[in-house]
């Protein structure tokens, strides 16, 4: 639950303390200020400390003094577990669904930049895949946040085309150690990852993403799997996958492949064209070395 408190206080980023009865108090969680010392306590302790205005106030032992100089101690809290007259509400804010929804129209504007009705992805053409271009060989850690960044992008989470403009922009390019900067093999020029991939898609050329260990760790965000499928990446080939991301890729109809020998990651070159061979004889029975690929002159066995 991300309940931001934001502008009510702390616009100055000064060092300060707050106490909440919330669940989380990680840095910047409540107000975006890294200098806010956030503490978590029960509602009654939070209230007592807010009244005293001091972290070191202990309501069990300490006294408060009012403006008239009168000292008093807070008595133990008294709660009511269940309202005596029962719970009540005028309008709970619930809309029950239609008995028969078949005539109901789903409201999405075709010009919306936050929502877009999905079209089914193109089915597999039934052949091996030839002449795929390397889009990026990601170096090191590549979490779902590197693949589909959060923050300002979250407002596009209902619009696959728009959110795809964040695809892999956080991933480190193995060959130049830069993020969001890869070689377009068709032009020889360097550009953004989504831009380069859109150029491949426009040219009708498939591509491959290569990754390191535990590729796709982090959140279960499905956009990280939908975006490459949507933009025409044909396979994600890695040393190892984070399990949930591998499952998500396969659910989106992506080929999620791992090197049979992790050392082969080092053979992948920036200008590689890649063929994925053996797809037509793909079967659960031969569960090892399902595919062979040819990368330039190399043949790399996959699992």
């Amino acid at each position: 639950m991300y309940w931001t408190v934001g502008k009510a206080f702390n616009r100055s980023y000064k060092k300060n303390s707050i106490v909440t009865s919330y669940n989380s108090n990680f840095s910047k969680r409540n107000d975006g200020n890294p200098n806010t010392h956030a503490f978590v306590a029960s509602p009654e302790i939070t209230t007592a400390l807010a009244i005293a205005g001091s972290l070191s106030f202990n309501p069990l032992t300490d006294y408060l003094t009012n403006d008239k100089g009168e000292k008093f101690k807070l008595e133990e809290p008294l709660g009511i577990e269940m309202p005596v007259k029962g719970y009540a509400v005028e309008d709970a804010g619930f809309q029950a669904p239609a008995e028969d929804g078949s005539k109901v129209e789903v409201l999405v504007s075709p010009t919306s930049d936050r929502l877009q009705i999905l079209e089914p992805f193109k089915a597999w053409e039934g052949t091996d895949l030839k002449g795929l271009k390397l889009l990026i060989k990601a170096k090191g850690k590549c979490t779902t946040d590197h693949i589909s960044m959060a923050g300002p992008w979250l407002k596009f989470r209902g619009h696959l085309d728009n959110i795809s403009n964040n695809m892999l922009i956080g991933a480190l390019n193995f060959f130049n150690e830069k993020t969001d900067n890869v070689k377009n093999q068709l032009t020889g020029e360097y550009g953004t990852v989504p831009g380069t991939q859109r150029a491949y898609k426009a040219a009708g050329v498939g591509s491959v993403v290569v990754g390191d260990e535990n590729y796709g760790e982090g959140s279960s965000r499905e956009h990280a799997a939908m975006e490459p499928r949507f933009l025409g990446v044909r396979a994600v080939l890695v040393k190892s996958f984070a399990r949930i991301h591998e499952t998500n890729l396969k659910k989106q109809g992506m080929l999620g492949l791992t090197f049979a020998d992790k050392e082969d990651y080092n053979k992948i070159q920036e200008d590689d064209s890649i063929d994925i061979i053996g797809l037509t004889s793909f079967a659960p029975a031969n569960n090892c070395k399902w595919f062979l690929t040819m990368l330039m002159e190399h043949q790399i066995p996959l699992m």
Binding site: I18, S21, Y22, E44, G53, G79, V89
Partner: protein, 370 residues
């Protein structure tokens, strides 16, 4: 867990922390941010309605900034197209839709949908809050929600079990919150990973249902898959108090199957992977932090810690509510403290902000004071 297998009756024992198992959840709850792509995908499944009862809750897109009325109105303007989409897609496919302002997803789920012995998934890490009503409630991503709504099985690594035995009884300033603050201090933010925390013992039975919810809610902060209490009289009371007497009657009729067996709770070490014991009669109020929820300070040691560590002693603001602690009981306990300050002509030194968990709690509290 074995009562919710996709295959039906169990035929084998699974190895905890190792085997991946398919389950059949009874419900799905989605918040408005993650629901968008889940439902856009569900539309492609070619179904007339969702396969299991499902709900959408518009809470995450509201930014708390100024106050309830202004913030809600701003959110309704800024997010109109998203709300219109979610309302219409819910209407079409048989999904219950909770409008912006109706409340925080986990509080609404506890008030309306959670039931003892069930299993549900929700697209938010604090879905686990519903464990306070004896349901296995687990936070997932939108893709999992989409699968379950489309009638597919849901896969999970069979969790380990951590038993938390509660003896004694809470009193005075100590609240349910202090139990989970203590547990967080013991297990740390990673200690619950891949595990279900099961609370039991006489101390557990004495806790209010919403207090149990608070404890389960914060299980997410220690990485727990979920947390749960066995069905007891307090849950029955809460079900009846929230207009669900039929469910309470049904649960009472099979109560012995909705909690652990006596021999398990008598010898927890033989059944749980890890056992923690807390005596509630000796438990002090805790304050956890800063920056991480597992730095647990009993209140008697906290003032020294503030001084030694040089944390700013002056408190700027106190906030109560959110999905963790915004029950009727929480708000009345906090109010009883605030009233004493007011009765003694003492003006609060820090700013104070309250976020009630649901419209039902807000309305009921307001009715009490007017």
């Amino acid at each position: 867990m074995y009562a919710h297998l996709w295959q039906g009756a169990a035929t084998t024992a699974y190895e905890r922390g190792k085997d991946y198992v398919e389950f059949a959840p009874d419900r799905v709850a989605m918040q408005d941010a993650t629901a968008q792509m889940a439902l856009l995908q569900f539309m492609q499944a070619g179904r007339k309605t969702v396969a299991v009862p499902s709900t959408v809750h518009c809470d995450h897109l509201i930014q708390a900034e100024v106050g309830a009325v202004e913030d809600l109105s701003k959110a309704k303007t800024q997010n109109k197209e998203v709300y219109d989409f979610l309302a219409s897609v819910s209407n079409k496919y048989g999904i219950g839709f909770w409008k912006p302002g109706a409340g925080i997803i986990h509080q609404v789920v506890l008030e309306q949908y959670a039931f003892p012995g069930g299993m549900m998934i929700g697209t938010d890490s604090h879905t686990v809050n519903a464990g306070g009503l004896g349901i296995i409630a687990i936070g997932v991503g939108g893709a999992d929600a989409c699968d379950v709504m489309a009638g597919l099985p849901w896969e999970l690594k069979f969790p380990k079990l951590i038993g938390v035995k509660l003896t004694g009884k809470l009193s005075g300033w100590t609240a349910s919150k202090d139990i989970i603050l203590k547990v967080a201090g013991i297990l740390t933010v990673k200690g619950g990973t891949g595990a279900i925390l099961e609370y039991f013992g006489d101390g557990a039975k004495s806790l209010s249902c919403t207090g149990k919810g608070t404890i389960c809610n914060m299980g997410a902060e220690i990485g727990a898959t979920t947390s749960i209490f066995g069905y007891d009289a307090k849950m029955g009371e809460y079900l009846r108090g929230t207009g669900r007497a039929e469910i309470a009657d049904g649960a009472d009729a099979i109560a012995e199957h909705l909690t652990g067996d006596d021999e398990v709770y008598a010898n927890p070490e033989s059944y749980f992977d890890q056992v923690i014991e807390i005596n509630l009669s000796e438990l002090e109020p805790h304050i956890n932090g800063p920056f991480t929820p597992d730095l647990a300070w009993p209140i008697s040691k906290f003032a020294d810690a503030v001084k030694v560590n040089g944390w700013p002693d002056q408190m700027e603001v106190g906030l109560i509510g959110s999905c963790t602690n915004s029950s009727y009981e929480d708000i009345t306990r906090a109010a009883s403290i605030a009233k004493q300050a007011s009765d003694n002509n003492f003006k609060a030194k820090a700013e104070f902000i309250i976020t009630p968990g649901s419209e039902q709690v807000r309305y009921t509290v307001e009715r009490m004071v007017t």
